[in-house]
Amino acid sequence: MAKIIGGITTSHIPAIGVAMDKGLENDPYYRDLFAIYPPIRQWLNDEKPDIAVLFYNDHGLEMFLDKKPTFAIGCAPEYQNADEGWGIKPIPPVTGETELSWHIVNHLIEHDFDPTVCQEIKVDHGATVPLTLLWPNFAYQGIKVIPISINCERHPMPKPSRSYALGLAIGDAIRCWERDAKVVVLGTGGLSHQLDGQRAGILNAEFDNYCMDKLVSDPEALCVYSNLDLIEKGGAQMVELAMWMAMRGCIKGEVEERLRNYVSPISNTAVGVQLLIPKA
């Protein structure tokens, strides 16, 4: 049977991808941020997951407003990246895992979750920056990836509780897949930030740390928030907590927090990174 060996939260800020392209990992501005990644990569290298289930939000590369799914799951053998218009360098294709994708889709629909099913989608920096951070030098091509996107752009967006419930259902689906595979789950994006409006630039370290604490000990405590609550506390793009909630739902139950980092700001954003290991 498939096994979920851990969950990782990580930012997907484009500036981080650009910093990697330029070899700025040791630059004073980025040093504290990048310090967390070698131990996480070491863990990945030791544990060797076969598949990464990756929750991200598309920022208008593939999913324009004309047809914008609330939840969408990739069921493709390969995912291309492309020009996003502001200069991040596209990366070579990401390999998919169609059999598990379809298993998840079948399981979800059987359990009353109805995602959009995508047999061909481009993935943007929301997916590619985390993959590049965790498996640099194109090593992400050595694992199979299932991208699952959550609408974080246009209201109405799924409630945090709903993203958590989606994660619970996907976690159950993975655990009942009759293949011996090790799966790591990635929740990307966050934490506090606001890009738009006169309020742009707001950050909230206290709330970010509260979220990271609760994500470990009591994720359901975060299900009480509406997206409006998140916006008030951590800015318009704090709604990206959705992907963290989905990741945590997949793991469910008790977890050990193996690693944590928090650096704020990078670009306009507070960056949180956590490695969570399910207990037993």
Binding site: A15, D32, H59, G60, L61, F64, L65, D66, A82, D83, E84, G85, W86, G87, E153, R154, H155, P156, Q194, L195, D196, G197, Q198, R199, A200, G201, I202, L203, N204, A205, L228, I231, E232, A236, V263, S264, P265, S267, N268, A270
Partner: protein, 122 residues
């Protein structure tokens, strides 16, 4: 009937159905800036490009004025506006400053003051 309208948050324009309806053509134009051909066509003749996407006169004026807040008020989504900004080489700190009436350096200092630059936070 359920009340769906989101409560006002100062300095924030919720990108909801109403705004998305208002901004659809503007956002569609900015979405085309994912491609270099679209970016080049805009650089070559912004007025013709805006006309091609049937922007409203108000939206055209906001683009001419490079008025980010006005673009948001007219239904712009920051996701696509980032692609518009890419044409001018503006990153998110530049945009942040433009929206909050700060220089880019002042905006960066404001960000830092809430994080690494904050004394109590180390």
């Amino acid at each position: 009937m359920t009340e769906y309208k989101m409560k006002n948050v100062e300095g924030t324009i919720h990108f909801d159905g109403e705004m998305a309806t208002k901004g659809f053509r503007f956002n569609k134009m900015c979405y085309s800036f994912n491609n270099e051909e679209g970016r080049q066509a805009f650089r070559d003749d912004p007025e013709a490009y805006m006309e091609q996407y049937r922007l409203s006169e108000e939206q055209k004026q906001a683009v001419r004025d490079k008025d980010i807040i006005r673009m948001l008020e007219l239904g712009g989504s920051i996701y696509y506006m980032a692609k518009f900004a890419g044409i001018f080489g503006w990153n998110m700190q530049v945009i942040g400053g433009m929206q909050s009436g700060r220089t880019t350096e002042e905006f960066k200092a404001y960000l830092d003051s809430q994080g690494r630059g904050k004394k109590s936070n180390g």
